[in-house]
């Protein structure tokens, strides 16, 4: 009677850098309780990661909304210009913060599941 269960390798095909996918979802395999690093710098970085991930999510949502309205033609030229400037500024600020906390884009990549359909 088999009592141990190990997942069979299910990878049919893969192209490109598998590490990108694995690292993006790496958090998942260590999702079950683990020791948290108490180093203050790491803790601060962890908080920054959380906050910036959410900010990035909101930024994407807002940008997506603005693009939809732009397509529908419900934004004036002036509004488009100002929105573009705002998003650019926000992007620059985000980059500064990411650099400061040594975070990459993939650190802020939130897998939304069903919520991703909103994007």
């Amino acid at each position: 009677m088999t009592t141990r269960h190990e997942p069979v390798d299910k990878i049919l095909a893969s192209g490109g850098d598998l590490r990108r996918i694995a690292s993006e979802i790496e958090q998942v395999t260590s999702a079950f309780p683990r020791r948290i690093n108490a180093d203050p710098e790491q803790v601060e970085r962890g908080l920054a990661q959380l906050v910036l991930t959410l900010v990035e999510l909101l930024r994407q949502l807002m940008e997506r909304q603005a693009l939809r309205r732009m397509e529908q033609g419900t934004l004036t030229d002036d509004e488009v210009e100002r929105m573009g400037e705002t998003f650019m500024k926000l992007e620059r600020r985000m980059q500064d913060l990411k650099n400061h906390f040594d975070l990459e884009d993939r650190d802020l990549n939130l897998n939304l599941g069903p919520l991703g359909d909103l994007l």
């Binding site: 997942p7 999510l57 990549n109």
Partner: protein, 218 residues
């Protein structure tokens, strides 16, 4: 507590395998449907690696031994036979339909990560140019996503697209009839060759998890 793994058709014998928490597998007949369950002493209060793996292994083994299978989502166990019977009874027609839909098929999953072109120095762009560039980028991603998805969808009985991570170009599952799996694999290989710049992972064959739940109006 009764843990439910799957509904099956055409299963001769249960596989020589134990289930969650090492409990033996059992069968139930409810509303003309064939269920595979196991009984545990108490309700699972925690989703553990072991329990998830056990569930997955049972479903995997059942798939190879059945003509059709509806994998059940890992979740709450049933407190009694009566509760199980009631729950299945309510959903029987949809479950029958589901079994028919997945019969003779396997599932393949595909995840394709975006290839982000480096954004040009924002300092040189006007607000309007930035927004225009975003629109173009979006259109290109959509076009590429369709280019990958459509040929695979054509080979499938059903397909499902997921929102996925914000960086995903495409995250989808395909319900592919057995006789088309070779063509499907070839198509994946072809898409990979066409797009060496993309990071993609195709997994499978899976039991048809993503196609087990059917909409009532489908």
């Amino acid at each position: 507590m009764i843990h439910l793994y799957a509904l099956v058709r055409g299963l001769d014998e249960l596989p020589p395998l134990t289930g969650v928490e090492g409990a033996p597998l059992e069968r139930r007949q409810i509303a003309g449907l064939d269920l595979v369950v196991s009984r545990t002493g108490q309700e699972l209060t925690e989703v553990t690696n072991e329990a998830v793996m056990a569930h997955a292994s049972v479903v995997e083994e059942l798939t190879t031994r059945s003509r059709a299978i509806l994998p059940v989502r890992f979740g709450r166990a049933f407190a009694s036979e009566a509760e199980l019977t009631a729950a299945v009874g309510t959903k029987a027609p949809a479950l029958e339909h589901g079994l028919t839909r997945v019969r003779g098929c396997v599932e393949f999953g595909l995840r394709v990560l975006g290839h982000e072109p480096p954004r040009q120095g924002s300092a040189t762009l006007s607000g309007a140019e930035y927004m225009r560039a975003r629109l173009d980028e979006e259109a290109e991603r959509h076009r590429l996503s369709e280019e990958l998805h459509r040929p695979l969808a054509l080979l499938s009985r059903a397909e499902a697209r997921f929102g996925g991570a914000s960086g995903d170009l495409l995250h989808a599952a395909y319900l592919v009839p057995e006789e088309r799996t070779v063509a499907f694999r070839d198509r994946i290989a072809g898409l990979e060759r066409l797009h060496p710049e993309l990071t993609m992972v195709c997994t499978g064959p899976w039991p048809p998890y993503s196609f087990a739940e059917t909409r009532e109006d489908a």
